[in-house]
Every structure is written in structure tokens, then in C-alpha cells.
């Protein structure tokens, strides 16, 4: 068992502005824990998390990898400035939206805003840079994820992998087929779980 990262420095006021770890977060943590052995063996040099929110997921990877002698650079990028502050406090490096010049990220983590909403709702949420941006995903809940999926092929190192949280409504088989066809990225479903009304899965992409 990997202990959940210590988030005791974050208060309920922080969670008015920043996504509080929930079922989707925990499913991603469980998937990473399931791959703990492989991840350690991989000895990743770089780990990029898009939308870290509280910073819980990257910190957890830090705990998984931390016991070995290797070292990893963690990059995090969130549109929400509160989330950047929280992530920083939670102990990883922060960026607000970064552009990586070269293809060499070993691990990518993304728990995106995946809830289907109207496109206008998504646009407003992105503009506000607040907590609404944690869930509003636009058409099929895929508008932000799709933008990012276009970049993954360029970002991932040859041995790299990406963990993505997705909802059944996001049409997971379509995502998987598209990533093979466009970028030759294979994928597997690591875990699936029902959480209230949401049916969540963790997809792991690799070359």
C-alpha cells in the first residue's frame, strides 16, 4: 500500500477553488499503484502532469518512485493559479500551461475535465480559471482532452507512457482507435470503476 499523499496543508477554503481529490483521483492513484513495480523499473527521468489540481497525483508518483535511488523531474501545468499554488505546496514543480520543446517525457498523467457540457460552458470555465475548469469538458467531455491528445505523440519518449482518466461517455474505444491510427500509440485499460453516476476508467497509452 502506498500511503495517500499528505494534503493536510490544504483547507476547505482551498477546495473552494481547487479540485479536491475524489473517486476519479483515487482510481488513478490505484492504477499507478498497480503499476508501481513497472514504474520503478522504468526509472523515469521526467513526469508531466496536466491539471494537477491539489498536486495529489504527482506527489503519489513521487512516493511510489521515491524509495529507489533514482531521481525524477516532475513538471505540472494547470490553468488554475490556485491549483498551481496548491500543487507547489504539495511538493512538486509547477507550471501554468507549458510547452515542452522535445519529445522526452517518460510519464504523463492527465485527469482532465471530462464531464460533457455545452461548449460555451467549457469556454467560460477555461476563461475563469477557477474550479469550474476541473470538470467542464465541452462536447462529449472531450474538448480539452482532445487538444492534449494531439500533443501526446510529440511529448512521449520512446519508452514513455501516459495515464488518462476517462468516462464511459467520452467513448473510450473511439479514443483508443484514434490514438493507434493517428500516432501509433497502443493502450490498455488499467482499471475501471463505477463511482456514483460515473463509470470511470484509467487508460494507459504507450508506443
Amino acid at each position: 500500500m502506498i500511503p495517500t499523499p499528505d494534503l493536510s496543508h490544504l483547507t476547505s477554503t482551498d477546495y473552494e477553488h481547487v479540485y479536491e481529490p475524489a473517486e476519479d483521483t483515487f482510481l488513478l492513484l490505484d492504477a499507478l499503484e498497480e503499476h508501481a513495480g513497472e514504474l520503478k523499473e522504468m526509472a523515469p527521468l521526467t513526469c508531466l502532469e496536466v491539471g494537477p489540481g491539489s498536486g495529489c497525483v504527482s506527489s503519489s508518483v513521487g512516493q511510489i518512485l521515491g524509495s529507489s535511488t533514482l531521481q525524477t523531474v516532475y513538471l505540472c501545468t494547470d490553468v488554475n493559479p490556485h491549483a498551481c499554488k496548491c500543487t507547489r505546496k504539495t511538493g512538486t514543480q509547477n507550471r501554468t500551461s507549458l510547452d515542452v520543446a522535445k519529445a522526452f517525457i517518460d510519464i504523463i498523467l492527465f485527469n482532465p475535465p471530462y464531464v460533457p457540457t455545452l461548449t460555451e460552458e467549457l469556454v467560460d470555465a477555461q476563461e475563469l480559471r477557477g474550479i469550474e475548469g476541473s470538470w467542464a469538458g465541452g462536447s462529449d467531455g472531450m474538448e480539452i482532452t482532445n487538444k492534449f491528445l494531439e500533443l501526446v505523440g510529440d511529448l512521449l519518449s520512446p519508452r514513455g507512457r501516459m495515464y488518462l482518466v476517462a468516462l464511459k461517455e467520452n467513448n473510450i474505444p473511439e479514443i483508443q482507435t484514434r490514438m493507434v491510427n493517428r500516432f501509433n500509440l497502443q493502450s490498455t485499460i488499467v482499471l475501471s470503476r463505477r463511482a456514483g453516476r460515473e463509470h470511470l476508467s484509467i487508460i494507459c497509452f504507450h508506443r
Binding site: 527521468l45 521526467t46 535511488t69 533514482l70 531521481q71 523531474v73 513538471l75 501545468t77 490553468v79 493559479p81 498551481c84 499554488k85 507547489r88 514543480q93 509547477n94 507550471r95 501554468t96 500551461s97 507549458l98 510547452d99 515542452v100 520543446a101 522535445k102 522526452f104
Partner: protein, 123 residues
Amino acid sequence: MVRLITHNLLACHAKGCTSNNFPLAFSNVQIEIREAEFNPEFLKNFIPKVEWNALVDTARQLGDTSLPLEQPEMLDEEFLKSLHHVLLEIHVEEGVMTCPNCKHEYPISNGIPNMLLAEHEIG
């Protein structure tokens, strides 16, 4: 935290800015030095990922001249220690990063770089 290891990955992503958009130039910086654990294996593995000229130039901008202009063949302890310091221990807490091409300015505040562009700047 903007360490040089991260800075070495950042390019300008403003609309139409696709060449000569790296490395971003620091100005008005406030720097903090924080000791990090020395891990020679990590450094050796990371060297192939580094844009060497950009790293050396940027370190010099920040007043650190310990790195040779040419990446050495022999990775001795002294060199690795300098590299360790430059990549992992220099933190830019405040300042501005300017694109060498389009001159877009990315501010750094409380150690967090703001790489967001306004709507009309997004390509």
C-alpha cells in the same frame, strides 16, 4: 519553481512563433539557491536530454560560469557537481522570461511561471 532543468524544456508557444523561440531569456530575476541531493547517475542519464548551448548561456546569464562551452567527453566528479548545481539548485523565484523571437514575456511569480497566452495569442 523554475530551475534550469525545467527552463531547458520551455519554448515560446505564441501564435506563429515557431523558430528561434528557445531558450527564453531571463531578466529581473530573484534567485534562491536550495541544496539538492547529488545523484551522479541521474545527471549522466539526463545529459543527452539537455540542450547544452541553451543551458550554458542561461547559466551565464544568471552569473554561473562553471559549465564549459563544449559538453565534455569525460564526466568527472567536478563537472557533474557543477552540472548538478546549475540544473537543480538554482531556483528563479521572481522575474521574466522573454522569447528571443517574438519578445513575448512570461512572468514568474512566487516561483510559478505563467505560460498562459491571451486568446488572440494562441496559435
